[in-house]
């Protein structure tokens, strides 16, 4: 029976640390912030959860097992929220997608304030086309808020 436990734990350890290592490798290799976020939020949280599951199986007493399972649930609940918040913040502020991206329906729905009619038509043409021009959005970036405005809110 202990042999069974040892084998299961060993597999969980190997799997979890492999997933974490691949997430870290993806963090270095992938081209932009949003694709990196895929790697960190999925493979990273799955890897840490697998290691915590190994800890839950390893511990003999009930409270420790329950705490490890609670840690897994907590971790799986918070990891997507922080990824979501970071993506939303950096998109709102105006960090661009990778130039090789094929689609951006989010900026279509939020036309830049102050864009003239001619510009908005070219905006339409642009989005029916295939390529994304990163310099295009760089020109019409949303201005960062001022401290005084933030205080008023």
């Amino acid at each position: 029976m202990t042999a069974f436990y040892h084998i299961v734990e060993g597999l969980l350890i190997v799997g979890g640390s492999l997933f974490i290592a691949l997430a870290a490798l993806g963090l270095v290799r992938l081209p932009d912030l949003y694709t990196r976020m895929h790697s960190a939020s999925k493979a990273g949280s799955v890897g840490a959860s697998l290691l915590l599951l190994g800890l839950a199986i390893n511990s003999e007493s009930l409270p420790e097992t329950l705490r490890a399972i609670a840690a897994i649930v907590f971790f799986l609940l918070t990891a997507p929220i922080s990824a979501h918040l970071l993506a939303k913040a950096s998109y709102t502020v105006g960090y661009n997608l990778w130039p090789g991206s094929v689609l951006d329906e989010m900026s279509r729905s939020k036309p830049t304030p102050g864009a003239s009619v001619a510009e908005s038509r070219s905006q339409q043409e642009f989005y029916t086309g295939k390529a994304l021009e990163p310099a295009w959005r760089r020109e019409k970036r949303i201005a960062p808020p001022k401290w005084s405005d933030l205080r008023k809110k």
Binding site: L25, G47, N58
Partner: protein, 124 residues
């Protein structure tokens, strides 16, 4: 017989896992150092928390000292709050300092006569 092999496999798995986790600490730190923008670095810190939680769990398995679970939970909470706070900071700060000039930074007055530090101080 099979018990011995299982134990051997388990011990090798722990060593292998420690090596891989150390490697991922290194790779994440590389991203934090070279990361061209602030959100990249924040993402690196978030990832560093996940790696640390995994590391703590592995140490807990290895030593059998299960009080480490509490540390993992606390670290997860702190990491989540840190990422949330950093996201708020990114929202408040705007994109300045990464590729733009620093004209729009709230700490600078429009004339450019800054009283709080220079470009180098706030730029990175």
């Amino acid at each position: 017989m099979i018990e011995e092999y299982a134990k051997l496999f388990y011990e090798y798995a722990v060593d292998f896992g420690l090596v891989l986790l150390g490697l991922s600490f290194l790779l994440t730190t590389v991203r934090i150092i070279i990361g061209p923008t602030l959100p990249d670095r924040v993402l690196g810190l978030d990832m560093l928390t996940s790696v640390s939680i995994g590391f703590i769990a592995l140490i807990g398995i290895n030593t059998g000292f299960t009080l480490y679970v509490d540390i993992a939970i606390a670290l997860g909470l702190v990491g989540f709050l840190a990422t949330t706070a950093f996201s708020r900071f990114i929202l408040a700060r705007g994109q300045s300092g990464d590729e733009d000039s620093l004209e729009s930074l709230p700490f600078r007055d429009p004339q450019g006569k800054s009283s709080h530090g220079t470009r180098g101080e706030w730029g990175r």
